[in-house]
Symmetry: none
Subunit: 200 residues, 4 copies
């Protein structure tokens, strides 16, 4: 990518980023059309390729940008001294809620990227994928699992929650109902239930 991109007005940068996030999130790497992205961003075709050498370059950039942004938000929202499983999950959801306000499609973009099937796209993001993953693992290490019932398999519990949250977000997204607060509330409902079932 061309670093002059950052000299643009922040508002224009974000218009381009959001346009890319939206179109990639809705259509996947292959299905996303650069024409749709430039229309959504309100810029010309040439400009897109002036800043990003090609489609995969743009994809790489927004993936990179998203992981960094997400990590910043997680770092600031999740209290590093907190040890309660469900409280930490709640704080992570709050972080996502904050992200949604500036970049409505960022979360869904990241989720979809995890399951990207185009070889080119997989290669482009595999390095960064682990970075975000490590961040999540670091947060998980804060958790004191001793308060959970012994029948609980930690890994399974975590996976179930992650898949459930992802699934619910994808559903909201598909329905086109962009109400971050409602999504947040719904997720809390699931956390609440699991809390009751798993606490000693």
């Amino acid at each position: 990518m061309n670093s002059k991109f950052f000299d643009l007005a922040k508002e224009k940068q974000d218009r381009m980023i959001n346009a890319a996030l939206k179109v990639f999130a809705e259509n996947g790497y292959k299905g996303a059309s650069t024409d749709d992205i430039v229309k959504e961003a309100g810029i010309s075709k040439g400009l897109l390729f002036h800043y990003f050498s090609n489609k995969i370059g743009l994809y790489t950039f927004v993936y990179d940008y998203s992981t960094r942004y997400m990590m910043l938000e997680l770092t600031s929202e999740v209290d590093s001294k907190e040890t309660d499983f469900f409280e930490i999950y709640k704080q992570m959801e709050m972080a996502k809620l904050q992200v949604l306000k500036n970049y409505p499609y960022m979360q869904e973009f990241l989720n979809r990227a995890m399951y990207e099937d185009v070889h080119e796209a997989i290669l482009a993001i595999e390095d960064k994928r682990s970075v975000l993953k490590e961040c999540y693992e670091k947060i998980q290490n804060q958790i004191d699992f001793s308060v959970l019932r012994e029948e609980v398999d930690i890994d399974r519990l975590v996976k179930m929650l992650d898949l459930t949250i992802q699934g619910i977000m994808a559903e909201h997204f598909r329905q086109g109902s962009f109400q971050p607060e409602m999504l947040y509330t719904e997720v809390l409902g699931y956390l609440e239930m699991m809390k009751k079932l798993t606490r000693r």
Copy 2:
């Protein structure tokens, strides 16, 4: 579609069906290339279009075929007198395991089809979608939920399990590790844990 398809040797029919299931499952409707399908099936381009009028016709066919096949398997594996939540889930997983043996990509194809975003493809399957859904609902109606702890929200429990199973299957699928038995065992692990957590 051309009904003469059914006059072909069963092995060849299945080769074509599996090829379509695989490529559609891996790439979605739009990303799937007919070239890839014919290569995978070991037939010529022309032959595909001899039996299926076009790409959407092939998609419609395999979706229809898959729902029917799935329903047959569910009907034969799930005991209609069983009322235990987890036993029924176990039997449903057994049905899926059976399906995987003949059509390794059928489950994943059906899962992905649920979230298909191409208008054409959505139209093609919307009628059949409800049929399979009703079948699942019928099975759920057998369940006696009274044995579960009162903290359990039934809808949330069902959704968590469904999303979890789907997620795990997708993961296996992405890793290309096609070992149906392992997948089955893994899913049983989650069912077992939830059973312990939710039983009175």
Copy 3:
């Protein structure tokens, strides 16, 4: 072509010939589909290519067959002693009328072939084209033009009549109204008018 074609039952031969004449006449060489021809003839794809090596071979055959048939009919209908311009034209039209009865599309096929634009097809028929042309010229040589008014340019008169008759036939054909007698009557109307205008 495979000469065994002539060993087939005459009825089957004609079914194949008429099917080819129809499809070629209606769609031109390129637009004609061998699938349509075999469907119209009620035979299999393989059989067509068993008797005629390829599409151009079939085209060549029916063109050849048509010119021969046409010439036979002209020879038997046109009195070689007749010298009157309009009487001869009338007899030629009678010959065409006879042809239409057995091969409804033969005339139109021949007309369309004159204006064929596909290089391959032009090559295939150019030899035979002159044969039919000579036949018409021979008939024209019988004519005693001295009875016509001096203002009449013979070549122009002939060309006008030919183009008019062709045009009217094409029109009937396009309207799908296959009533050879009506076509014959209509053509006679034009001949009658020109007779009155050109006779001394």
Copy 4:
């Protein structure tokens, strides 16, 4: 079609129009290949589809353009006060001659379009067809037929002339000899002869 087409240099517009007219005129709708059109126009495949959404869109456009252009030329060349049958025909031929100078294949394109057999193409032009037809009818209404001999059937005379002119034009066209003036002269010869034969 994309209206930006009209922002192109007139020369380029005409190159594209003439290429389409030529290839459609020579091969009919179905036989015309977009590859041939772009080669003839000296542009790329993509550009053609940038301006015209598809083949039928291009066909519709050039038909529309041709009828408008033809009507303008007719309106300016044919004196609306003239009543003499042959003088009016002469003026109409002059209009066509003018058209030929800028768009050598436009006349032949329009003629061939009248007999188009592909359903899609018929639908595309049926609205505009009547517009041009009405224009011709309006001109014919100027004519004072009382100066013709009583043996003349007006409708037949008109049809003969139209078919003859069309036929002669098609012939010139087939021979590839593009000399509009010669064509004009030849047509005048026929008109002159018929004038002598039909005047009281």
